[in-house]
Symmetry: C2
């Protein structure tokens, strides 16, 4: 996920470097990697990617988010290889107790939330920070706005001068673009609680491993059916749903896509190389 040229990678299976190359992603610009859980298809490309960062001479910090065990494994394999890493990894352990904020700066906030898989697993939620409204240049000139007045307008307040002049926020400021949001929920059983935590996000990735005919198997293996994914998107009132992690028993995602769309029409299927733009709803 590219947010104003900050790149976040969610999960990193074996072969992720190949996928990044195919997608022409500038991998050295990835400063944040979030790992949902310790199943191999979700983190086995991580150490190779870190190794490549090192080979390419990276010095910039890498923020790594994931289960506490990930930190130990990374340390163990670096020790075994007597690795000399040229850049710091700042490890942020995730917890499956409750949602929490993992990272925050002026433009973006990363949160985790628990999901229900066979082993401790979290989803992730990425939100643009609310942007400060910009005061229109013409208004600054027209009213000869003072710094204190500009700051008041940026806080969303109207300005009332002693001479009775009123300068309204709504007139003086550019409309603020809505903050976009993306949630990543994999791997997990259908769990209604997740809908609360991802409520209203613009784009939700949710796993959909099985068709609803295999609901019992999905439940047993801690996965979700396409229909359930659609239902969760509906309950959460998200803008768009993208489903993936389709079982190899299906030839392709077509049937799962139809099933999810029957419940939640704004659904697409994740395929290798798919690029989605996160759009706010009007």
């Amino acid at each position: 996920m590219n947010v104003h040229e900050k790149q976040f990678l969610f999960d990193c299976g074996e072969g992720t470097q190949i996928a990044l190359r195919h997608g022409r992603i500038r991998m050295m610009r990835i400063d944040h990697i979030a790992i949902s859980h310790m199943h191999r298809d979700h983190y086995f490309g991580l150490f190779g990617l870190i190794s490549t960062f090192n080979l390419l001479g990276r010095t910039r910090d890498l923020h790594l988010y994931g289960p506490p065990a990930l930190q130990g494994l990374l340390a163990a394999q670096e020790a075994a290889g007597e690795t000399v890493r040229g850049f710091p990894i700042i490890f942020h352990p995730t917890s499956t107790e409750a949602p929490e904020v993992l990272f925050e700066d002026g433009s973006v906030r990363l949160e985790s939330f628990p999901v229900r898989h066979r082993i401790p697993t979290t989803g992730f939620l990425l939100r643009e920070q609310p942007r400060e409204p910009g005061v229109k240049r013409a208004e600054v000139r027209k009213w000869d706005l003072q710094p204190s007045e500009v700051l008041a307008l940026k806080r969303g307040e109207d300005v009332h001068r002693e001479d009775g002049t009123q300068i309204l926020f709504a007139d003086a400021c550019h409309p603020v673009p809505a903050s976009r949001s993306y949630a990543f929920a994999a791997d997990t059983r259908y769990w209604k609680q997740v809908a609360e935590w991802v409520k209203g996000v613009d784009l939700l990735y949710h796993e959909a491993t099985f068709l609803d005919a295999m609901k019992a198997r999905a439940e047993k293996t801690y996965h979700t059916t396409a229909r359930q994914a659609g239902r969760l998107a509906l309950e959460a009132g998200v803008g768009q749903l993208v489903i993936g992690h389709v079982s190899a028993r299906y030839e392709g995602p077509e049937d799962l896509l139809k099933e999810a769309q029957a419940v939640f029409p704004e659904t697409v299927a994740a395929v290798d190389g798919l690029i989605l733009e996160v759009q706010t709803r009007c």
Copy 2:
């Protein structure tokens, strides 16, 4: 390396499963995996391969050879993923003290030998066991050979009967095919001692990371030049040399191949998908 349908895999970098699929190798028939050292490009495909074995329902033993640290890492990541593995892994720790026999059965013997890399590393040597000579059926009938006489011939002895009949081993038995051998030496500095340990093998894989113009860099980074690899093959009197692990600084292996061939003409360059038949020399 396929020896009478026993399959041995030497090192297992990320993406090995993809290479196995491309090569149409029946991966479930791999019962032996030997890891030379704990650098990521040599073992990062291992855990994914083990995972695939598990998904495919493997129950057969897997023999795994490698540095002691490998066992700990495997245990740690299986614990993190709460993996329930359906087949046993028999771990054989390697040592860099001296050559040693790692595995032996009726048809094959696997040995390790130390090489000189930045971290503890071994090469591997695979030999067919000497085969028992077969007695020609026509000879059995012609002389009405008794079981004790057959056993004597199989031991390479001639038979002298009391009536003065002489049945010579050389006449009565099929010629025994020579035992073939393969050695794998990577990653390593050029180290003359290795020539003793791989003396006379039919096929030697030796790394050749740099051209000889970069000999100092090869020494410093514990790698070998193409010329040095050729020299080692010559010193060891091997049948054929295959070089690989070429630095990404070179466009392809052509120049390295020429350099090695100038010293040891029976050299080929390893490229993805290359299949070599190990042949004995006459």
